[in-house]
């Protein structure tokens, strides 16, 4: 068990039966009064954020989270299906759980899936992924409003800003942590 004084940014605890991560934390103590531990928490399943203030001496259950090596298989009507590379067990992650990460999944990609009570609640992707540009209008010379960038859509449906010289059919590298264009990739 954790106690109030263990609270800090990044700590993962169980609240109302669900895993929450401390996103922001502050210790406050009005003169001669008792200490308060103010936390901004995010529900790791639903993404809901909430504020909680704790006093000294409270205790918290650590969230039993496990990171498993898995491979992305395919998308079905429920969600995105991953397979444990050791046990071959399959887990489905929902679109809302993955958020924008779903755009960076490619067939057989090796990822780490964060699992809570057999429920997949998040993925850690490789830092970079290569995806093909499927749609991008030619750059109009003189359109300086957007600098030298223009919008492009890649094969997974994700839209991002790319340099003007990137054409349809080009393979590009994207940083999955920021969702931004990195470079062109030679096939």
């Amino acid at each position: 068990m954790y106690s109030s004084s263990d609270l800090k940014k990044g700590l993962k605890i169980i609240l109302d039966g669900e895993p929450h991560v401390v996103e922001a934390f502050d210790f406050i103590k009005p003169g001669k009064g008792q200490a308060l531990y103010k936390c901004k928490l995010r529900n790791m399943i639903t993404g809901t954020r909430l504020d909680r203030t704790y006093r000294s001496g409270e205790s918290f259950e650590p969230a039993p989270l496990e990171e498993r090596d898995m491979q992305y298989l395919y998308q079905d009507e429920v969600g995105y299906v991953f397979m444990d590379t050791k046990t071959y067990e399959q887990i489905t992650l929902l679109e809302q759980t993955l958020g924008d990460d779903r755009y960076f999944l490619t067939d057989n990609m090796d990822v780490k899936v964060l699992v809570f009570n057999e429920l997949g609640i998040g993925v850690t992707l490789p830092n970079f992924v290569n995806l093909k540009v499927t749609q991008s209008d030619p750059w109009v010379k003189g359109d300086t409003a957007a600098g030298n960038n223009k919008p492009a859509t890649v094969e997974t449906g994700y839209t991002l800003q790319v340099p003007s010289f990137v054409d349809e059919g080009t393979l590009i590298q994207i940083d999955t942590r920021t969702g931004e264009y990195v470079t062109r990739v030679k096939e």
Binding site: D26, F27, I28, K29, G31, K32, G33, A35, R55
Partner: protein
């Protein structure tokens, strides 16, 4: 050997220069007013029992959480105007505005009461901010006497959804105070909050006309608590009772029920006095427009 000098430490250079100058100005301020600078031991057999202040053990003794007990013994021996700038230790206090080892300025005057402390606070801040305007984290504070004065009860009426009495009855004083009241204090000009329930002032004298209130005062600038002082309780019997009540609340068992006996026995010689503790690190934060206490000290505990 690291390839580069410590960048965090180098970036604090301006603040540390200002800090040194502020310390010199504080010393000059009190010397001009004939206050004697004193030094009392940091390591003492026991601190004044306080419910929410945890002393740091130091083998068979403790580091002081404040120099108050020794300074009051000086008062009782006839030293009428004294000040001290020293390190104090409070266990498990660490946050944006807290360090477990921090620098305190305390001063005491006799004869005197909390109204005298308020006046000296005004003079000190005016001396430190000669152009009368302090900008801290986007808040512009006019440093001109007189500062705003509001009782704790009035502050709740003004800013909180419930009264002070209700907050205390429901045992949510700290929550309501820090959420609703504190952020509103000392915004346009510094604010003194005064007259606290006796339970919240273990070493303060009660108001003769309202014995449920203690003559305690807190100074706020920009929502930041800067100083805490009171008209001193000089009745040794009542002081011992309050210490015992605090130890009862904390459910401290017999062998640890140490009382600061020399302080209690000398207290009866103490004239009517007032004393206040001011957080020097926080003062430097205000005067350097620093958002965190980390930015105004050379090393935080995590950097050692």
């Amino acid at each position: 050997m690291p390839a580069r000098p410590n960048a965090t430490l180098a970036a604090r250079r301006d603040n540390l220069h200002k800090r040194a100058r502020i310390l010199q100005q504080i010393r000059a301020f009190f010397s001009q007013r004939a206050y004697l600078e004193v030094e009392t031991p940091h390591r003492i057999p026991c601190n004044a029992p306080e419910e929410y202040i945890l002393p740091q053990e130091s083998t068979s003794a403790f580091l002081h959480t404040s120099p108050e007990l020794c300074m009051k013994r000086l008062l009782a021996a006839g030293y009428a105007h004294i000040f001290q700038i020293c390190r104090c230790w409070r266990k498990a206090e660490r946050g944006r505005k807290h360090l477990p080892e921090f620098t305190m300025l305390e001063w005491y005057c006799s004869p005197g009461d909390y109204l005298d402390l308020m006046r000296t606070c005004e003079e000190l801040l005016c001396a430190l901010v000669p152009d009368e305007v302090l900008v801290w984290q986007g808040t512009t504070i006019q440093i001109k006497s007189p500062f705003e004065r509001v009782t704790l009860s009035q502050a709740f009426t003004r800013y909180a959804p419930i009264s002070l009495q209700e907050a205390m009855q429901d045992d949510i004083f700290e929550e309501v105070y820090t959420d609703h009241v504190e952020p509103q204090l000392g915004i346009d000009r510094p604010t003194f909050v005064y007259d606290y329930p006796t339970d919240m002032a273990a070493l303060a004298r009660c108001r003769p006309d309202a014995p449920h209130l203690a003559e305690r005062v807190e100074l706020y600038l920009g929502g930041l608590e800067l100083a805490n002082g009171f008209s001193e309780l000089v009745d040794p019997t009542e002081q011992r009772q309050r210490f015992c009540a605090t130890l009862d609340c904390m459910q401290v068992e017999f062998p640890e029920r140490m009382m600061p006996e020399p302080f209690l026995s000398e207290l009866r010689h103490m004239p009517p006095s007032a004393g206040i503790a001011l957080g020097v690190d926080r003062l430097v934060m205000l005067l350097t427009d620093a958002a965190t206490i980390d930015a105004v000290v050379a090393f935080t505990p995590e950097e050692l």
